[in-house]
Amino acid sequence: MPVEIDIEHVARLARLNLTDEERARLHDQLGVILEHAAKVGEVAAADVPPTASPIPRSNVFRDDSPEPSLPLDESLRHAPERQGDRFKVPRIAETGS
């Protein structure tokens, strides 16, 4: 059985505008893909530890010494919109009440 997904909810989490046609197609396609993917539930028992990285490394630190960083102008060069030394975006908060 294809898996039933709330496409609207997932698209909201992913910050993705979808057309009606995309929503319908993704609903069907993801249902089938997840039905296949759910096979992972058949084998892995509780006593099997998860693997996040094939060759685990931990606590990889560099010396705590300052290094040059990207110059400001270089950082801002590709900004879709810029104002002075800042990235400009549409409003991010409700204006006061």
Binding site: A14, V32, P54, I55, R57, P80
Partner: protein
Amino acid sequence: MSDLCDLTGAELSAKLAAGETNAVQILESCQARVEAVDGEVGAFLTLTPQLARERAEELDVYLSTGAPQSAVAGIPVGLKDVLTTNGIRTTCGSRILEGYVPPYDSTAWSRLSGAGAVLVGKTNCDEFAMGSSNENSAFGPVRNPWDLERVPGGSSGGSAAAVAAGEVVWALGTDTGGSVRQPASLCGVVGLKPTYGRISRYGLIAFASSLDTVGTFTRSVRDSASLLSELAGWDPRDATSIDAEVPDYAAGLEGGVRGLRVGVIAEAFGEGVAPGVSASVRAAVDRLQALGAEVGEAHLPHAEYALSAYYLIAPSEASSNLARYDGVRYGYRAPGEHADSVEMMFATRGRGFGPEVKRRIMLGTYALSAGYYEAYYGQAQKVRTLIIRDYEAAFEGFDVLVSPTSPTTAFRIGEKADDPMAMYLNDIFTIPANLAGVPAISVPCGLDEAGLPVGVQLTAPVLDEQTLFRAAHALESDLGLELRPPILAEL
């Protein structure tokens, strides 16, 4: 007729050293080939003729002083367009990065560049390296030089096609689930995915960070070994890069396979494998046996769950990695007035990403979402452990494992475009090595009944690329295939 661009890197290096040619002539040969075929093949997204010319001229002056010559000096290369190049646009095959010019070089490219490689251009690929046919590029498909109606494989399809057609001598790709090995197989070239962490990922624009691996396309195993020696090594800019000595991989190539324990993966010859593929791969195994290898049957009992695990893990990591494309700092921003920033992000991502990328972002977001995380992502990570254990058990009995690289040869453009599950099955034999981090190589082993190339995949334990190269070189030498795509006969 053979042009300079049809020679291997080792042959060109020898000619350079002997003063029989120079870097400019080699470059011009590749550029003439690009001119002749790329209108049809479509391997490149960006060509860098002036930079290449300057680089080749500088190199000729440098080499004329008798300075030491590296194995990559003067070799024309292509770079998959997911590897950043300082000052040269890098698109990931996506509208969302159209026109993006990175301010830094990927470590892989900076190593090659520092050793004298000549960049011909940036190669086409599936958007953000997601795909197995190169049909997901926002800038159009790549066509297979063996048959222009067919796909070159993916996601590094442009790199594979460019090497097969002689547009470059070497190319870099990336392999997250088979994206180097599968197109190498479909285009009749050698494709290497080294051990995870062997080559730095710095400047490889991330798809799935625990799986992404820089890999190589060459027309010989020797070239593959030489190229890896230049690329491999620890990089302070990639915390997952491995701090282990880098051998001279080309040095041990001639060791042969006498006594080498070769395990044929039993599960990889079942349903869904084209008869022409099975036959060629089995014949290659027979050759290894004839050369003195001890051949037996190997098993990866959990491999049948690898595809399921991969299509949860890779999209999950992708949904997180691709959250950075928000229309704020670089890349595309949807035009028009937006009520607020969040609405701008919805619009930007909705218009900027193509269908396959959206599919994977949605899949990953779902697999990581509250209530589903344990059943999907959590379980997939456990399957990953089982697959690693399978390899460990198999490598107790064998030095190298053998399977087909891909279940089929090149398929027709459009044939699987509307069926994601059918497309995902292309990677069924390549995905397990990514999940386990082990090195694997695809080597051409023949042509099927339609005259299309077949690749055999060899897999070795973590960091044992030397054994991989030794076995692959023995097989390649014994088969002695002359692989020249039909498109080149018309030149």
